[in-house]
Amino acid sequence: MHRYPRWPIHLILVIVSFVMLVPFYWVIKTSITGENIFNYPPSLWPVDPQPFFYVDAWYAIPFPRFFLNSVIVAGMAIVANLIINAAAGFALTKSFPGKRWMILLLLACMMIPFHATIIPAYLITAQLGLLNTHLGLALPAFSHIICIFLFKASFDAIPPSLIQAAKIDGVPEWQILLKIMLPLAKPAVATNIILSFIWSWNDFLWPLIIVRDVEMQTLPLGLSTFLAYFEDTTGSLYAFCVMVLAPGLLVFFLAQKQFIEGLTSGARKG
């Protein structure tokens, strides 16, 4: 490769990293500083660090409840996604009349962003009596078309001889799916889990639309409720913000590689 000095690259990257990290630092600093957060000029370091913004936030609105709601809804979405998407992806590996139309239909559905459907989705959910429920929150996110195609691509890549052999042995179809194909499609499973987790965990608009009671709010909605109640008046807002970000960041650091692969492969077709 060409020989060029390395340090300018490092310099630029360090500056960029600084810009990317400073917002985190600033919010964390605000949430633990002991000085009045509205003092100008603001101190660059936390002054007399204290944890009482977190205590205030904990007792101001129910973080554990919001966390639980988010976990339940995300859990439902993940499980449903795995089952529905794997089944649909599996079905799409077979050839059957109308398969081309089915695929075209699914591709067309991909062009309909969720945000173009919010009004009737709300009306439908209301008709189903699912307003303000965990199931109602999770239902629109039960399946994602990208994930179906991901499974299809993974299943298509499995050597047909394996499947043939199983069929000759008389293994029923669903067992073929479960015992042979899914284990060989682990990346697709991981991607599915990550994508459905992220889209459910961070979802704000849908909970905003269908949740009526404070106890059913999920974390993003809880955060915006905190903002609405207390506006800019307290540092507890930033403590709450950190509390809300913490689980997501934790999951990210635990599964970093799968995360990045999942999100980028989810952004490609199949």
């Binding site: 204290q50 944890p51 009482f52 205590v55 205030d56 007792y59 101001a60 682990k186 207390f230 008046t233 307290t234 507890s236 934790l250 635990l254 599964a255 590689k257 799968q258």
Partner: protein, 127 residues
């Protein structure tokens, strides 16, 4: 392919295991110390305990401060509150028409945390 799953599982179980342990330990600690006992002493500017001073306990929320309890110091200038059910409080002491103290903030780590004030409340003002 099997490798990464096993290794990931380890990291995940360790992390969540640790979190679970910390959460349980913290909850046990809270259970053992949450009677809401708040004790302290009222002294005058010379450092001598003041008996019969009125001590007012107020709760401090993000947007307000309202009094919730009152008591009177005993012969040693000590006072005792219990079961206040709050996590952020303010104490003031006064001898009516004689002297008052500055506000003392009491910030607890959890509701009803037992606390003995490290320093006394100082009454000052015209006698």
């Amino acid at each position: 392919m099997e490798d990464w799953k096993g290794w990931l599982l380890n990291r995940v179980t360790i992390t969540f295991g640790l979190i679970a342990v910390v959460v349980i330990a913290w909850n046990l600690y809270v259970q053992a110390h949450d009677d809401g006992i708040l004790e302290g002493q009222v002294v005058n500017e010379a450092g001598e305990p003041v008996a019969g001073a009125k001590v007012v306990l107020s709760e401090r929320t993000i947007v307000s401060m309202t009094s919730i309890a009152e008591t009177v110091t005993d012969a040693d200038g000590r006072f005792h509150f219990e079961g206040h059910d709050r996590h952020a409080l303010v104490l003031t002491a006064e001898m009516p028409d004689l002297a008052r103290s500055a506000r003392m903030e009491v910030q607890l780590y959890f509701k009803n945390q037992n606390r003995r004030l490290p320093s006394p409340i100082v009454l000052s003002g015209a006698a």
